[in-house]
Symmetry: C2
Subunit: 347 residues, 2 copies
Amino acid sequence: MVTLKDVARSVNLSVTQVSRALNDHSDVNEETRRRVKDAASSLGYEPNISARKLVSGRSGIVALVEQKYPGFTSDFLFFEIVAGLSAEFSRRGMQFVLHVAEADEDIIAVYQKLVGIGALDGFVITKPMVNDPRIAFLASRKIPFVVHGRMPSHTNYPHFDIDNEFVAVDAVKRLTDLGHRRIGLINGIAHFTYSRARLEGYRKVLAEAGIPFNETLVRNGAMTEELGYQSALDMMGQPDPPTALFCSNVSIAQGAYRALASLGLSIPGDVSVIAHDDALPNTEPAEFSPPLSVTHSPLSRSWPPLAEFLTGAIAHRPLAEIQEVARHEFIERSSTAPLKVRASAQG
Amino acid sequence: MVTLKDVARSVNLSVTQVSRALNDHSDVNEETRRRVKDAASSLGYEPNISARKLVSGRSGIVALVEQKYPGFTSDFLFFEIVAGLSAEFSRRGMQFVLHVAEADEDIIAVYQKLVGIGALDGFVITKPMVNDPRIAFLASRKIPFVVHGRMPSHTNYPHFDIDNEFVAVDAVKRLTDLGHRRIGLINGIAHFTYSRARLEGYRKVLAEAGIPFNETLVRNGAMTEELGYQSALDMMGQPDPPTALFCSNVSIAQGAYRALASLGLSIPGDVSVIAHDDALPNTEPAEFSPPLSVTHSPLSRSWPPLAEFLTGAIAHRPLAEIQEVARHEFIERSSTAPLKVRASAQG
DNA sequence: CCCGCAATCCGAAACGTTTCGGAAAGCTAG
DNA sequence: CTAGCTTTCCGAAACGTTTCGGATTGCGGG
């Protein structure tokens, strides 16, 4: 391992001045700086992270803590997150650590331990919950972090999110505008903030349209094809089945399509469907039959700002510069149609 | 952050003795050790990794470097590796770092940089190639590493592998024993050691049975359903089509099944099929129709020994204790049958 | 000639840990 | 009583970096 001392010797300077030259401090002669940098790179010098961390408090290592859950090992979303974040932090010369916690561990204890070790500069928090203890813990300890999403209650921390409430408003409003009044919502697990926000948006549109909220038209669960299938099957068997569905996810929509097909119902003739599209690699709503209309917002756009914001938080950049709520886009295809007028009781 | 000094103060001992007590050195009174450990845990002391690494050279952090490749983001195998290793190292109180390198980076330069930074205790190398520069580099620099697989040429480094040559021998021999003489091999990308080893095994059985090697019966590629489909379709269209197939992977077999079905050929009536089964979560050979006979060796069994061997390598345990070649198991189902005697030229 | 200032540089301390070398105390054997 | 051993402890150095405080040089202005 080549150290600062080696570089210093090779250019006949003190360790101090070499350090200052390499870190672009002000009081070093421009020509000296070049000499030092040349020597450093020709010797293959890399600053020792441990030593730097010890004195400056910065290690250049950030972490994502993920707790195991059923299906963890085949979750494309999680995989997308890891690959995306890892690449973005690498690009910025930082190390990205993935720590997998067992399902039965107390997650706050895990953070506590990781923080105590003192090797980490910050954390990225994904899939925030409505009252997320991780956010509370890190905020109280003043440890830098960035959230992929945001809690509805307070948002005074770095985050990147999409406007999930507006996603739902946009989708559901299009359905009410087409005359639909019985609209099903197949949503993610209820405690996640995005599920909550979408439910809010859904209720808001219903209220504005004067449609009473009907809880039998709302389902929650892990966002899988299976959830979509079961939920749709189930709802369509109810006394007052929905004439339109908003699915929180393309996989859910896929399941709903399958359920409707198995019931002999046509899309959009009998039931209109809209989904939210995260643009994950394994699902392509344009190839559905009929092609699926979506609120579109690629998850892959999250990684650069998340990495940027976390490094910003570590550098104490002002909060305003390190939060963003991105817009989605509506892509109209062929899975929605005006409500068919027929002789049925109004829900 | 609570430091050794804090613990020392609380028990009225020197920092030295506290350190020795915590690390189970010999020259500390048994009762003192308990007092120290109690105090440490009640204060919530966690050793500072950076400081430890600086003086002892150990950080407790190991890394896997993965270079992006097409389909990287939806590769179940890679995901299985990351999840498995991460959990195993966590269990041992170590940090597991995933570093994603861009596709166009020089991989040795990446290792060089990571090593220079001096924060890593060792590496795990997956998917070794026939002459793997990563192994050569790490070995020459005497940096601890463990290989998931092994190079055929030399094996004097920690590794965990299955006997891929024998996997192929076992599978192919069963086919020749059933009378088959034209046997197709749909294999992984040629430069991986396991592909090479399986090819060796395949050729060995052929040689023993006096069957000349026919290169039109061997295909290589990324082990996907698509490869299986295309290769099988292609081979069956040849002048002397195979009467049996050995697929390096269950996904490949799935593709082969589809190809044979589309040609109106029956399994095992017209063509016998055997595959190697890594027991990945998304593929279940027992549910094929007909159920697929396999050489079976769950990939998930690799992670504990790999983690164990790498920590062993870091602790300078003797080589013999930190290498293993595991046995596979043959599971007979219904995808093979004796060669039908018919009027055809002998290949 | 002297003072003050700017531009460059450097020594030494500090971060938290491990470890080397030795010290103190108690005991046993001669 | 003393020499030597064992048990238990400690001071100080070391790891590689950053940074505080100050030192040196050269220059212009008075």
